[in-house]
Amino acid sequence: MIMTRQEFLTSSGVEAQTLEFWLEQEWLIPERNAGGMRFSEHDVARARLIRDLKADLGINDEGIDVVLHLVDQLHGVRRALAQLRAELRREPT
């Protein structure tokens, strides 16, 4: 499901000002088109992670920057690993 900025704010409970900060930090990078921002489920889940890190785990903004950067790298590595696995399966050794 794709949401507009307003729908995203309503469903996630994130304050408009907070969202501005997150966008500025590039913690969230929604797609943009002529009609404005478009938030995917992927963005919404990421917003939930940021909220968990902040509210539940007590991580401050500096810390969140680090955590997201590492999480993004981790997923990059996991993806590369998955692709390698697929390649190895295809190729006779």
Binding site: I29, N33, S40, E41, H42, A45, R46, R48, L49, D52, D56, L57, G58, V67, L68, V71, D72, Q73, L74, H75, G76, V77, R78, R79, A80, Q83, L84, E87, L88
Partner: protein, 301 residues
């Protein structure tokens, strides 16, 4: 559900600060998004989060301690974690390769494989876009061109080939999402629904039609006009036709793959005039052969 104090590993006399500290310590280890490959982390995290939700709420904790409520029903509503999305699709725009880019520049088989998969990603073909389109039965047989309006306001002309069957998918090459690098655009896939027609039904390449005829047309024969998906045609009805008599219009059905067409099967149905006719009644009451004919003879009833 387990005892929430036990789940968090705190004494029942623990202070609110101790409870938060214990929860944070566990959550940092167990949060599913900080453990993308650990399937069990989610279960454990949910247990810990539910225990914390109960004990961090002073009111709920009081009621739990006094035995008014138990620990069930405290689970957080089900939701998907970030890892479920970051692992799907291609992870854009967040996932990055900074964690292994040094390996790619090495000169070994491993680096070669990494480079190849990176390249495949860089030259990724665009996504296919799916649309749905409903057309009239007649158009599905004769073929037509339909224009669909896209969500972004653009339009797409879809050529419906003659003889299309309900559920067929038309592929418009290159009309999908743009690709990356050397990867071409994806295709538009249009699933076509053929709306039912009140006159025609289709059976393979043949089309059936039930056609009302008058008693005199049936008895005496004649030439009548018959609708087909490509327009009316004239057809001869033989003398002595009956309800159920099926006549075949060759080549008036759906076009066949590789040339030719199916047939249109015209099933006649005799219809008497709406208001009773005294002349007809008089004739039938004096018509001995008609009265002695039993159409049910030999049948089980």
């Amino acid at each position: 559900m387990k005892d929430p104090y036990e789940v968090l590993g705190v004494a029942s006399s623990a202070s609110a600060a101790d409870i938060q500290k214990a929860y944070r310590k566990l959550a940092k280890k167990l949060h599913p998004d900080l453990n993308p490959g650990d399937k069990r982390a989610e279960e454990k995290f949910k247990e810990v989060a539910a225990a914390y939700d109960l004990l961090s709420d002073t009111e709920k904790r009081k009621r739990f301690d006094s035995g008014e409520i138990d620990a069930t029903g405290a689970e957080r509503p089900q939701h998907q974690f970030y890892r479920d999305f970051a692992g799907a699709d291609d992870g854009r725009p967040y996932t990055n390769s900074a964690g292994f880019s040094d390996f790619i520049n090495e000169d070994d088989a491993f680096a070669e494989l990494l480079r190849r998969s990176q390249e495949a990603r860089a030259n990724r073909r665009g996504e296919d876009l799916r649309y749905q389109l409903a057309i009239d039965f007649v158009d599905s047989i004769a073929g037509t061109t339909k224009r669909i309006t896209l969500p972004d306001g653009g339009t797409l002309d879809v050529k419906i080939p003659p003889g299309l069957v309900d559920g067929n998918v038309i592929r418009l090459k290159g009309k999908g999402e743009p690709g990356a690098g050397k990867g071409g655009p994806g295709d538009a896939l249009i699933e076509v629904e053929v709306l039912p027609d009140r006159r025609f039904t289709r059976d393979g390449d043949d089309i059936s039609l039930e056609l009302p005829v008058s008693l005199s047309e049936a008895v005496l024969g004649g030439r009548i006009r018959v609708p087909t998906p490509t327009g009316d045609v004239t057809m001869a009805i033989p003398k002595g036709s009956n309800t159920g008599t099926t006549l075949r219009l060759r080549g008036k059905g759906a076009p066949r793959r590789g040339g030719g067409s199916g047939d249109e099967l015209v099933k006649l149905k005799i219809v008497l005039p709406k208001s009773p006719d005294p002349e007809l009644e008089a004739f039938v009451s004096n018509w001995d052969i008609g009265k002695n004919f039993n159409p049910r003879e030999g049948s089980a009833s």
